[in-house]
Amino acid sequence: MRRPRWKAGIAAAAAAALALSGCAESGRGGDNDGADNDATLIFGTEGEIKTLDPTFSSDSITSRVANQIFETLVRLKPGGVEIVSGLAESWEPDESGTVWTFHLRDNVTFHDGTEFNAEAVCFNFDRWHNLPPGLAQDPDMSYYWQALSGGFAENTPDRDDLGDPLYVGCEATDELTAVITLSRPSSKFPGLLVRQQFAIHSPTALEKYDADNVGGTADAPQWPPYSLEHPTGTGPFKFESWDRANQEVTLVRNDDYWGGKATIGRLIFRAIPDEGARRQALLAGDIHGYDQPSPSDWAALQDAGMRLEIRDPMNLLYIAFTIDSHPALEKLEVRQAIAHALNRQAMVDAVMAEGAEVASQFGPPILPGWNADVPQYEYDPDKARDLLAQAGYDEGELELDFYWPTNVTRPYMPDPQSIFELFQRDLEEVGIVVNPVAEPWSPEYLADVQSGKADLHFLGWTADYPDMYNFIGTWFARPLPQWGFNNQAIFDALAEADAEPDADTRYAMYEQINAQIMEFLPGVPISHTPVAIVFAPNVTGVPPSPLLDERFETAQITG
């Protein structure tokens, strides 16, 4: 009687399987968009997007997807850093720099058919300005609006960092003219508007899908349907689906786009968090490209025939002095000595990627305002020792806490440990006693160095938008514990530059300020590192962007 039992069991299982099949409806619709006949480009990303509404994100992955769906008033020239027209064909400030008039493009519609016009633009700006107190105003939710405007119509109480907003109002003086008023001129306007956080969304969709309702409660934030399923912009691609189980976002061509229609039918962003796995997927032909391949892989990828595009550097690695944390650092000779002691070129040659260069100031060469004639600090250990002696510190008398981060790589800092060890050796060479303090990047290291606990530490920055103020203004426009100094001349110079509405005048001011900064030497700028993007051999037509703003609508997949 035993034998039939297991046979009966198998038969029962088979019957159950048959009965269950067809139990659920296939969700594949018949609607093709014609996109099935066209090429599909698959791009591997380092992680999953958090939301489809770029207003509430600050990471590059979400921006990359948003760049294809949404458009901004102004945008970057493909492959460059110049600001060119986007949804606005032209724009000008008034003399005071506080009233900006944008002349908008005609015959543009959102993906849901709503017309794009000045009212839609004002609707969007007012939306950001009126984000409700609470979660929506959190620093990691609406970071870039806060970076631009510094406040909201109604600020969350207890938030000391929110003040009077830069944005005052927007008026649609006619169908295609939007006039935005600011409370004071700012160098961020209109440069910062190239970011997807300032893309223009369809007002109809924003209202219909409750876009601002982020967070039921502070404890349990929730994303509204707009940001999970219905992002609606004007761009060359439309959103089709977000498959969370496969960590995949699918976009399809927008056949009603006002400009050149996309040359591919479908664009898929698939998260492949491990870098080795991304590389193998590209080499196996399973994806068409990915961003920021590790420099150690560049040669191998090129040998395998992949198209590696190296972008111009838009970042900076620097060593900061927290000047008020140690009496020695208050002496200019000591700071200069340290600058001369560091062999930056040797470090760049040993640790950084091909194409990395030593930085001469606190901003990259590609940005206007970069000054070829700033004070230079060549590697000269003898001079360093002399300067230290002048300041009254003989061999071994100066001891400094040097903080460095563990558990992290950044595009500007691929290997913190190697960088630290080389610099430690350089400093000890000239008789400085280095007291190393290693801390995990987040939150300890960042918290400590930003609150001024270190004597020396290193950190970096990648540009948000193509303006020198994004570098030097972030650090040197006001007293900060991280830098520990109070140089009113520099603060005033930066405030003046920020308020200058004419771009060329402002760039000239930046040049002077860069020279001033390098004389005062609040830290030592170390290096700029290029980052690359890599594509399969048969993929062309995607110009690399220094600000990671690649557009895929001109992509070509041959063969």
Binding site: S21, E25, D138, R244, Q280, D286
Partner: protein, 334 residues
């Protein structure tokens, strides 16, 4: 039997309650926090303070715990600080993937391991036996992620036979019902999706199965060898029973008892998610998600996961006990 099961399940409750208290206090005391992981170098001290306040990390621990337990009793595990989606949703997306992977790996390890171990024992000293003994050592010693990379390189890159990442091919547009992709494909009659999901399971499952396979083979072999020497086997042979009857009824059923225990432990380990394999294959399972939760101090996810693992192990232990009674009638479950 039923009473036994109910009693065992009731024992679970105080265990989980005590566990939740310990975990909660311990996790909250760990250094670090989700404060500024999202903003990195852009985080200002004010930003960090605002985030800590929003997450309620400043309140006394007992208050935080009270709030947590209240939610738990409503089966609300909170929201992941990384993705800002409900923890339960994140689990429901990822856990089925790990289950499919664990199941496939276990099927390979058991389905191939037990017969191989049995045959090795029966033909002791033969070529298969020697291969098993030495080969299983290699299997145990080879790092799983290294094996995973080699499998990908050979079968994915060089031969192009199998996919190298994910649970499904990009753009396949499959309908998800249960998030068990192979099952979903069968339920919706999207045969290509089911097949595609199955292909994606193969390489990671082989990588993950390497250690369980080695363990099961050796245990089976050792256990069978021991049983073969027992008096009752010789008696059965003397009685003239067919080889098949001896094998099935006498040898295997007795030899399998320790192996079943081992399978239970291995299953529990597999269900906790193979972090390295899931990472190398970009397989969206629970293992990698929890690893990231540890890195980013995503407390709600960590709490839910540990509670869930405890429940899993308890369940597996129960199943192992029950299967004992099926395999060996002498074991009465009291």
């Amino acid at each position: 039997m039923t009473r036994f099961i109910i009693r065992r399940l009731l024992q679970v409750i105080p265990t989980l309650a005590a566990l939740s208290v310990l975990l909660f206090i311990w996790l909250r005391r760990l250094p670090g926090g989700p404060d500024a992981a999202l903003l990195g170098e852009r985080a200002t001290p004010e930003a960090r303070a605002a985030i800590r306040e929003r997450l309620g990390l400043d309140e006394p621990i007992l208050v935080q715990y009270g709030r947590y337990m209240k939610d738990l009793l409503r089966l609300d595990f909170g929201v992941s600080t990384q993705t800002q989606q409900p923890v339960i949703d994140e689990f429901l997306i990822r856990f089925p993937g790990t289950v499919e992977l664990a199941f496939t790996a276990l099927a390979i390890a058991v389905g191939v391991g037990i017969p191989v171990g049995y045959l090795a024992a029966r033909r002791r000293g033969g070529w298969l036996d020697n291969l098993v003994v030495s080969g299983s050592m290699v299997g145990i010693c080879t790092p799983v992620f290294f094996l995973a990379f080699v499998l990908k390189w050979v079968f994915g890159e060089q031969l192009g036979w199998l996919p190298t990442f994910g649970r499904q091919s990009p753009g396949i547009n499959a309908t998800h019902v249960t998030n068990f992709f192979v099952l979903d494909g069968l339920l919706t009659r999207e045969w290509d999706a089911a097949w595609d999901a199955f292909l994606h399971l193969l390489l990671p499952a082989i990588a993950v199965a390497s250690i369980p396979f080695a363990v099961i083979v050796r245990m089976t072999r050792a256990s069978v060898l021991e049983v073969l020497n027992e008096d009752y086997v010789r008696t059965a042979e003397a009685k003239g029973l067919t080889d098949r009857t001896i094998r099935g009824r006498h040898v295997l059923r007795n030899a399998l008892l320790p192996v079943v225990t081992a399978i239970g432990v291995l299953a529990g380990a597999l269900l906790s998610g193979a972090v390295l394999t899931e990472t190398v294959f970009a397989f969206n399972g629970i293992g990698r998600f929890v690893y990231l939760a540890i890195q980013n101090a995503d407390y709600p996810v960590l709490m839910a996961f540990i509670m869930f693992i405890a429940l899993t192990f308890v369940t597996i232990n129960l199943l192992v006990d029950i299967s004992y009674s099926i395999i060996d009638p002498r074991v009465r479950v009291h």
